[in-house]
């Protein structure tokens, strides 16, 4: 993790945060191809942005870039979403000692992913930043550019709606 008084190199950002950026993108879009593209776009923007980066809230800076890249892609495409494919979630089933348990866990993961995609975007984004990426409420407020009260509300309403969708 980069401290507040150092400027990380691009390689450090890619190494230390790449997986979280990918997880963010995957959980927001539901598919690996889009997540893959987004990671590359974010890392390109990070590399450009690091030239003018000044030590401060690195997490807020990084995730503001990440979500802006995501939203730019969405706007540019301007398309209605489609139902995502399950992707490789089934890929490691064969090696499980208990295929039934593995299958039910995989199905549960797919159900949670599908429910996430059914959330209104603002709720989905807040929930993913909190529960997948692991940002604090302050960091989410800074990344998204909303007051902390709105962060609280979006996370709470997102989780409540997710629970309803999963029941």
């Amino acid at each position: 993790m980069s401290g507040d008084d150092t400027i990380p190199t691009w390689e450090e950002v890619a190494r230390d945060h790449g997986r979280r950026i990918y997880a963010f993108a995957y959980r927001l879009t539901g598919n690996a191809h889009d997540a893959n593209d987004l990671v590359q776009e974010v890392l390109i923007r990070v590399r450009r942005g690091l030239r003018s980066y000044r030590p401060g809230s690195f997490e807020g800076w990084l995730w503001r870039i990440t979500r802006n890249a995501f939203l730019d892609e969405v706007r540019r495409r301007g398309r209605r979403p489609t139902v995502p494919l399950p992707e490789g979630d089934l890929g490691h089933m064969g090696s499980s000692p208990d295929p039934d348990a593995e299958l039910s866990r995989t199905r549960l993961g797919e159900e949670v992913q599908a429910a996430l995609l059914d959330l209104p975007y603002e709720f989905r984004e807040a929930v993913v930043l909190c529960d997948v990426v692991g940002l604090t409420y302050d960091e989410i407020a800074e990344s998204v550019g909303i007051p902390i009260g709105t962060v609280r509300s979006r996370i709470h309403r997102g989780r409540r709606l997710l629970k309803e969708l999963l029941d």
Partner: protein
């Protein structure tokens, strides 16, 4: 009054001490809010239990390749631009060859092309939101 929208913040330890004490006391005496706490805690747990999504390694390897690719591309463009600038200087006379070569702008163009190309067709975005 039910502090409904503070319940997740309570769960995440994101309330200041005064609000935390108020919400905790309320949850002790309000079955409806206690039930809501259980609901959001279950949702939170289901998201936090998700496995690492498939394909991360490939994406990161791709990003590293992409980084090198941009550099290779930039070298190629530099060479091509030098050739073009020379041709332009010959064809158009003085001035063209003196124009500053803006590598950053070219890399940005390349980035735009890369981003435009792959065809992300299934992004779900804010257009579905409230």
């Amino acid at each position: 009054m039910h502090p409904r929208e503070l319940i997740s913040a309570h769960l995440d330890g994101e309330l200041d001490p005064v609000a935390e004490a108020r919400v905790a006391a309320h949850l002790e005496s309000c079955p409806a809010c206690a039930a809501e706490l259980e609901d959001v805690a279950a949702a939170r747990q289901s998201i936090r239990s998700l496995p690492e999504p498939p394909g991360a390694a490939g994406a990161l390897a791709g990003a590293r390749r992409g980084s090198r690719g941009v550099r290779r591309w930039a070298v190629a463009v530099t060479a091509a631009a030098a050739t073009a600038a020379l041709a332009g200087a010959v064809a158009l006379g003085p001035g063209v060859a003196d124009a500053p070569f803006d590598l950053d702008a070219l890399v940005e163009q390349h980035t735009a092309r890369v981003v435009l190309d792959p065809g992300i067709s299934t992004l779900r975005g804010p257009m579905g939101g409230p």
